[in-house]
Amino acid sequence: MNATPSSNDFILQVEHLSMKFGGLVAIGDLSFQARRGEITALIGPNGAGKTTVFNCITGFYKPTEGMMTLNRNDGSTYLLERLPNHEIPARAKVARTFQNIRLFSGMTLLENLLVAQHNKLMKASGYTLLGLFGFPSYRQASAESIELARHWLEKADLVDRADDPAGDLPYGAQRRLEIARAMCTGPELLCLDEPAAGLNPKESAALNELLMGIKSTGTSILLIEHDMSVVMQISDHVVVLEYGRKISDGNPASVRTDPRVIAAYLGVDDEEVETVLTEVGDEDVIEQLDTGPDSAHGPGNTASMMAGPVSDSVEHANEGERVTVSKGASKAAQVDARAASVASKPQSAAKPAAKSGTAKAAPNKPAAKAPAAKAGSASKGKDTAAKPTAGKRGGRK
């Protein structure tokens, strides 16, 4: 998909990232890149796993599988999944904000920004010893840190309230302060988790300006956002997630017109989907119409012609892996299914041979590429990602 340039063009490369919580697959085999100096937006419906991706990148979660490579401007490379939580901001220079704002509410705005410069000041204070005896080197570093804090307070338009407690700020200002605090760590990659959530249009515009200002200083930004006005205006690259899987990846214009994205956000007309899927012989739809138990998870009825292959249930048993969302939930997969049915219908209605053909008929389906790309995750990718899609349905026609 990407003509892979030298890896140094990308500040962050996420490869085959998977995160499972017990049986729930929050992220399944996600790969994307964030270019240096660009704003990359990560969007998707609620529960798509965006925040989980952030938590993996910033070390709050250890991913189940996958590799996250961070290439710093000075050429050094860090594997984020191997760094301890607190070293990711300190050494790899990745800073983040939180969806539910996490400020030090009892400390003043200035103190919030000084805490962010902890590691720098810690060194300057000789790990407390020099600072305790009031050495001038620490005093100078302290004055510099206050200057940096003032700089970011001015950028965030908060300098008038510098000596107020952070908990006293209105919501929009708290959002800006959190970004300013993250910037005070001197990051090269800034991860923002829904910075525009709960902001009015005016505040949202001010936020856009702040983010563009940050971008102009050379800091790359990774952004989770629901507010499309923010995403479409400022981002250079958009990655769309649904149910933990990437369904689209590209510039804002191409993503906006991607039918899979539209389906994921707006849904597909139910009747249309149903007719199409019934025509294709989709097991899920038939099950739903029958209101019988899910054959893959319920008691095995292998005698039935409708049942899936035995390997299906065996694999489930082995890996303890379960997709808890209902099978037909993924709207993007429905779009794929429709495309597949359109492709396969003219040929013949019921042909086992169509199995592989239909799978290939969905060219932009990421999960379908997994078997070829990675043998290890092949069966898993098929099992979890491809199940509701045409690949398997074709086999049961």
Binding site: T58, G59, F60, N85, H86, E87, I88, P89, A90, A95, R96, F98, R102, L103, F104, S105, G106, M107, T108, L110, E111, L114, V115, A116, Q117, H118, N119, L121, M122, S125, T128, G131, L132, G134, Y138, S142, I146, R150, L153, V159, A162, D163, D164, P165, A166, G167, D168, R181, A182, T185
Partner: protein, 531 residues
């Protein structure tokens, strides 16, 4: 629903009627509460049998006192308090506050005169009034002095507020001198002054300052870093035993062992810190509590080293920086060197200044650390640990330094305690000590040095003052011991303060840096931490 009905009825009833009704309720409740507590009492008779003593008269007194108290409060207290909030129609001014009415110039002059008169007559009081009335007279004198001091503090409150630290430190530095001089004047000789000062310097001064130091040390762990430590007394014990053992066995000087004891306590702080790093809140509290008990049980059971429950006695005294000693038999005994009369008060006064110096060291380090990145990280940890990690703060080392620093000051206080007592045993390091220190920190306001010092003064000084109320024996009979009511008063004080000021005496937080103006952060924004 019930509440609305009763309030409607209240609106109809006059205050006096309502007061009657509420007095009846209060009396009934207190009767129900106290019938078994006060009305009946188990006792042993001469042949060691358990007997029930009935005390209906006392029960009636308590119930009547409750009812009358409720009546007075509802009938007169509440209308009075309400009237304070109503401004005068003509002038638009609020009425005088209770404090302003209470602290008036004539009252002040009267108090000073009474106190002075009773001081002058101090020696001849017993002869003039008899022992009964002399006890009351001394109590009146104490009240007059307290009133006069409170009056001064009330009228100079702005000045005191502005120069609190300087005034407090100078008052503490002058305290023994003033005590000795006043007592010398009263008894008419310097020797008498020194002898009489023992109680005031040792029981009040040193005792309170030890708790101030312990509470300031614990404040680092609880008030700043927000880690609820219920086993703080363990570090106190480590410091005390470190000095006691190394001092008695190896004859090392206090001035070497003080830092050593601090280091050892800090080491144990880290030892405790490691396993509890991942614990928060209640779980942390329970584990630290257990740690405190483990240390005490080790001290009891490791007889070969600690001499078990019998404790260690004969702990060497502190020397005056090696120049002079406080042992009468030594050739360089202070009285011989300075050519003054022998007295045990010199050692106590020296210890007073020593613990004062240690307290000031604790305060200085705490104030400094708060302005350093590590102190800010502690407070940030208290506010939000996850945000700390997202900013690259190593929460492991931050927590451990908090534990270690707090423990170090506990160790200093412990070694001082051993030097002062000359004897340590595990009995001094029970959980109750941890609880008292924690209560002082919470009452004072977590994170505030001044508030904690005031809380220690009130809690420890207040309970010590109970010993001075001997005249109450004449009221309640000879087997009445006011000290036994220590814990009751302690608990009452805590309940009252927590109702009146839920975040302690000084709940607001002083910011560690400012751009334009230093403004205290209201307690409603600061968090207590989750352990």
């Amino acid at each position: 629903m019930a509440a609305t009905v009763s309030s409607e009825r209240d609106a109809v009833a006059t205050p006096i009627q309502r007061a009657f009704r509420e007095a009846l309720y209060a009396g009934a409740i207190s009767l129900g509460l106290f019938v078994l507590f006060i009305g009946l009492r188990t006792d042993q008779n001469i042949s060691n049998e358990l007997i029930l003593v009935q005390r209906w008269g006392l029960l009636a007194l308590v119930v009547i006192a409750t009812a009358v108290g409720r009546f007075l409060y509802v009938a007169y207290g509440q209308p009075f308090l309400a009237s304070l909030k109503v401004a005068d129609i003509d002038t638009g001014l609020l009425p005088e506050t209770v404090a302003a009415r209470f602290f008036r110039m004539p009252f002040f002059i009267a108090a000073v005169v009474i106190a002075a008169l009773l001081f002058v007559l101090a020696g001849s009081l017993d002869g003039l009034l008899g022992p009964d009335l002399a006890g009351y007279a001394r109590f009146v004198r104490a009240l007059a002095i307290i009133y006069a001091v409170a009056w001064v503090m009330y009228y100079f409150r702005a000045f005191i507020h502005a120069h609190l630290s300087a005034l407090g430190i100078s008052a503490l530095a002058l305290y023994p001198v003033v005590v000795v001089l006043v007592l010398a004047l009263m008894t008419g000789s310097m020797a008498g002054g020194f002898q009489g000062s023992l109680k005031w310097v040792d029981n009040f001064g040193i005792q309170i300052l030890i708790y101030v130091m312990l509470a300031w040390g614990l404040n680092i762990v609880i008030g700043l870093a927000g880690l609820l430590d219920l086993g703080y007394v363990a570090f106190y014990a480590v410091g005390a035993y470190a000095y006691a053992l190394l001092g008695t066995h190896f004859g090392l000087s206090f001035w070497i062992l003080l830092p050593a004891a601090g280091c050892m306590a800090a080491f144990w702080g880290v030892m405790l810190g490691f396993p509890v790093l991942r614990l928060r809140g209640d779980y942390l509290a329970i584990v630290t509590l257990a740690f405190g008990e483990i240390i005490r049980l080790v001290l009891i059971n490791w007889r070969e080293v600690t001499n078990g429950s019998a404790g260690i006695s004969g702990i060497p005294k502190v020397s005056f920086f090696g120049l002079m000693t406080f042992n009468v038999s030594d050739p360089n005994y202070i009285a011989k060197v300075l050519n003054i009369a022998t007295s045990s008060a010199y050692y106590k006064i020296f210890l007073y200044y020593l613990i004062l110096g240690l307290c000031l060291l604790t305060a200085f380090v705490t104030v400094r650390l708060r302005r350093l990145p590590v102190g800010r990280a502690w407070e940030a940890l208290r506010e939000d640990e996850i945000a700390c990690r997202s900013l690259g703060i190593n929460t492991t080392t931050t927590k451990l330094t908090a534990f270690a620093t707090g423990a170090m000051f506990g160790g200093f206080a412990g070694s001082f305690f051993a030097a002062r007592q000359g004897f340590v045993s595990p009995e001094s390091f029970v959980f109750l000590e941890s609880a008292i220190v924690l209560a002082i920190v919470v009452l004072g306001g977590m994170g505030s040095l001044i508030g904690i010092a005031i809380a220690a003064l009130v809690m420890i000084g207040g309970t010590e003052a109970l010993r001075e109320l001997d005249f109450l024996k004449r009221v309640f009979g000879p087997d009445f011991t006011p000290e036994l009511y220590r814990m009751l008063l302690f608990g009452m004080a805590m309940v009252i303060v927590m109702l009146w000021k839920p975040r302690g005496f000084v709940g607001s937080r002083e910011p560690t840096a400012f751009l334009k103006q230093r403004r205290a952060v209201s307690a409603s924004f600061t968090k207590e931490g989750h352990g």
